[in-house]
Subunit: 234 residues, 6 copies
């Protein structure tokens, strides 16, 4: 591993980042073609947050959170810190002291493929975290890793400057170059969904709104009156 | 798989269904002889709901939620939709649009052996869901399955028209024919528990209320004053 | 297994126990040298509790909660009941009736390496539980186990009279003889952290507060301006 | 639970059962429309077996193997014993003594949603087992269950008399009434695969054998010479 | 944690240790009252070994195998090394070099609550290992732990000098003081099982050998001819 | 997702690839600085293989193996096919027919973050596979993915043309540009280990070979004669 800290990270346009936050994870994930979703074992430590920000990254080792202090210096207002570990680990790599530091530097939240602790304090501070585990297990500061290099987190490649969107549904990453298209796609999708929602709320069926009946029949779906008729079908 | 939709489902008496909701999952599970409980990996997406309803079922394929639109048409007020998948899957098969549709049709909730998304919206709408996972992963609509056939969900067979009871403890299924007996058993059990609760709250011990002391002694339980006496026992 | 109930348990000083509760799990775990933490699969059934108490223990068998009634009699005000199972099990071994009994006897909470049920009631009662699972699965009362013997719970040895500290971060055990040192260590650590927190909140970096820069450089951490410079490093 | 033993089980034709064994699990699963497969956590305790037989079933409780002795009496030559547990459990419910008994009664193997032990002996005896776990944990004989009732095992409903096919790929259940069609379908599929295998071994591509190229293009698959051309696509 | 190496370990009588190896894990576990079994996630890296030996223990940290070299010096011929980790970890803490060293010192095998690597070499050397995982992930040598202190491994307390028995069924620990009784109990149990095995092989049923029929009837087990009679029972 | 097939992949020098195979996964992983290891849930379907080859990659969808036929055409002799899935999935995406095709095209093996089937046939053919699961669950061919694009597999980024090394310890990826250095490092490491192995086999201790004693003492490791002395230490 190259034990480097990359100082300069190109970030996406703030207005587009905030637009993605407004649409939420599920919509952004759909809008960019169903890619970029972190595996669902990454969960928020408390419900009710929805944020987006530019990724600054750290690659750390199991049981060692030294790089968390190094990445703190690289945070700019509006960033989200993304932490990968070189092997599966659930130790509590982040707590209220680091959160105080990250928050003071302007970070909007943390995504970490490991554990965190002081979760009651983090909620009281309003510092949202998406993690693999909650664990009070302390860590050492012995081995250097890397900051602001591309990392794999929960099955997704995250390059510094990519946009992270995170809410109660999980976490999605949008490549920096794809941000304008994703923001526009998510906006359209949201509008489209509003119209659909009104019709569905009025009792219309998706079967009719989406014209599914003919294709369902063609694919072999058969309506019968009673389960006893199943055997007659063949 | 027979790709059918069964239109007619016999449902249990509404009054009995509501009585089961009032008793809760743990009591109903006990009252019918400790059967029918879905495996505990099925969890509510938010705390505080307690519902019961008639099962309408859908059998879907991994990553494909097409049948969710088909089952919507079969919902009658008071139903709970129960969704099985033909192989383990955590994709987000259900979100706020389908919930709007299900709620407009009168569904009381959803039990699904897969993932759901838009969980913040679902909570805001008051549409309770018990699922295996929360995931924003979108699904396709390519392969037909079945609606209102018997399905296996989280280790239990659910036949359309069976009654589902769900709360913060999990989900239990009551066969339709067994509903009257289960409701009566649950009612008695609740009464009995109320009496026990008062005695226990007053400091009486279960050892005495349930006359356990003699049987414990017969089964070999020995009281000693200190752990050091253990070695003298043999 | 020796099927015994040990009546006498030496307990730590109440003032020290309460002091540990005030510091919380993560701090106590650090203060005693990063030992004693139960594995992180043990989670609170609801958020927001922080307790400490003397351990009274029960060793039960899978699907059998008989010893829970036996341990109730051994509870003294301020205790926390700690339950181990002789093989992995998620059944709901504890519910609102036993909680009523434990609470009446003065217990502050329960730590159990199995499942619990009636979780909505337990929250309403204010009886905190840390468990491996939530499950409505009922249990039998057929096989005797042991009460107030040393047990292994979630990877840690707990001897009756040890102090348990539990909060949203998890559960830590402090050996009774180590309680004074742990309480003093945790107090100092808390003071020290308060000072650090103020500096971090003001925007100072851990890199500077902890004098990390020189050691990081010695360990080979290199700062570069762009990720493209990585290849030039070698 | 009805604590019954059903004595009479209708079984499928022996010739068809053996034909299914000859085709193997993957082919039978495909031949009957991709249904009936037990979840993949059920694994053989040793490699190299391929069997089929009529299901005789037992429903047992966690940590209690009493019904295993009851089901032994119901075994007829050619049967496979299928064991479900009323809650998740990994205890070693079956070992070399029961295997000796089952083998003497003519059983071809065991499928169990729990643990087994004496696995070295079972392999030496040539008694194949598909299980959820290997565990030496002993069990009690305290609570009655049921024999030859429909059970849910690893996500599938198994009715006594259904045919079980098991090999290194896992376990599939074929409803008794569907056995003739499944056997015929599996035979045809096997023949068809033999022809395909010869062509593929000669270097022909599935793309050509299955005429996939046109449909792939229609679905949007694009061939490019270098990954650098990806950005030009949009 | 006290970072100590304890030099002197009292060991059990070699003849009794070897007698326990001859009986195997399942029998020893039963003979000592169904206690002492490590959780079933600990599995042999290759099949076919059955060993017993005196435990020498090491407590290490995640991702750090330094103490493995320290424990090597404490091995005496006939020992089994038992390794606990202070937090869940799957790194490959042991490979063919350490195995060469352990084997040269007379160790019979290794039980480790973490990962190992070079498993093909270990099998070729005939050095059996029971582990939680197989992983090539390398480890550092940065943090000291302890050697020959009591440790918790896979849910069991192991005190140096306790006897470890390990085979394809898993791993059981016998307290040193309990070794004579366990060896005698296991011997008797083996004899008893031999007699039972002969009767079962001849087709006798456990129902008759163990006189279960009367008790089963008393507990409510009912024999019926067909599953259709179930409904008439109530 | 860009649904493309990239035709041209630059591959590393065959001699270096074979040299890496000769060193094995653990040694290569160490030689390149402990990076590149796939998570340990990826396991060989049978023991005893050790291969290296150039990665050709496929990105598929859950339950859909269409791209497996597309990637077959891109295989050149000596390649290893690496398959990523867009969401967690265990379906049997690969069996003996595809293996026949891959083998005919010159593939040395398969690494797949999903399930495979026909494992007995694959072993008989000598076609090694490293997978997440074994499952007979069949898949559809409905949705296009991508071939020879960078993919994330079991936590690691794999770019087409990277070298994959796989054996009984797991799977490691070496970036194409890093192959010469990794091969040289692995060769040196192997030589060095041979010398160490001889000394360890002769009974020398790692403590002495690696001069660890002084550093251990400095880090606070204390030797005592009996565990009873622990309390005197403080």
């Amino acid at each position: 591993m190259k034990t480097v800290v990359v100082r300069n990270v190109e970030r996406a346009e703030p207005g587009l980042i905030d637009a993605l936050a407004g649409c939420g994870v599920a919509t952004v994930h759909e809008a960019q073609g169903r890619i970029g979703l972190l595996q669902p074992y990454i969960r928020p430590i408390y419900a009710g947050s929805r944020i987006a920000g530019s990724a600054v990254t750290a690659l750390v080792h199991p049981g060692d959170n030294w790089m968390m202090h190094v990445v703190a210096e690289q945070i700019r207002p509006g960033d989200i810190v993304v932490v990968a570990v070189s092997a599966p680990n659930t130790d509590g790599m982040f707590g209220d002291l680091l959160a105080t530091s990250f928050q003071a530097r302007g970070a909007r939240g943390l995504v970490i493929d490991a554990g965190v602790r002081d979760v009651a304090d983090l909620q009281a501070m309003g510092f949202p975290v998406w993690s693999k585990a909650i664990s009070a297990k302390g860590t050492v500061k012995e081995t250097v890793g890397a900051v602001n290099v591309p990392v794999v987190v929960a099955g997704q490649l995250v390059t510094p400057g990519d946009v992270i969107v995170a809410d109660d549904d999980g976490v999605v990453v949008v490549e920096r170059a794809a941000v304008p298209a994703a923001a526009e796609g998510a906006r359209k999708r949201t509008e489209n969904e509003d119209a659909k929602r009104r019709r569905l709320a009025a009792g219309e069926l998706g079967l009719d709104i989406y014209n599914m009946r003919e294709r369902l029949e063609k694919e072999g779906l058969v309506y019968i009156d009673s389960v006893d008729e199943v055997d007659e079908l063949e």
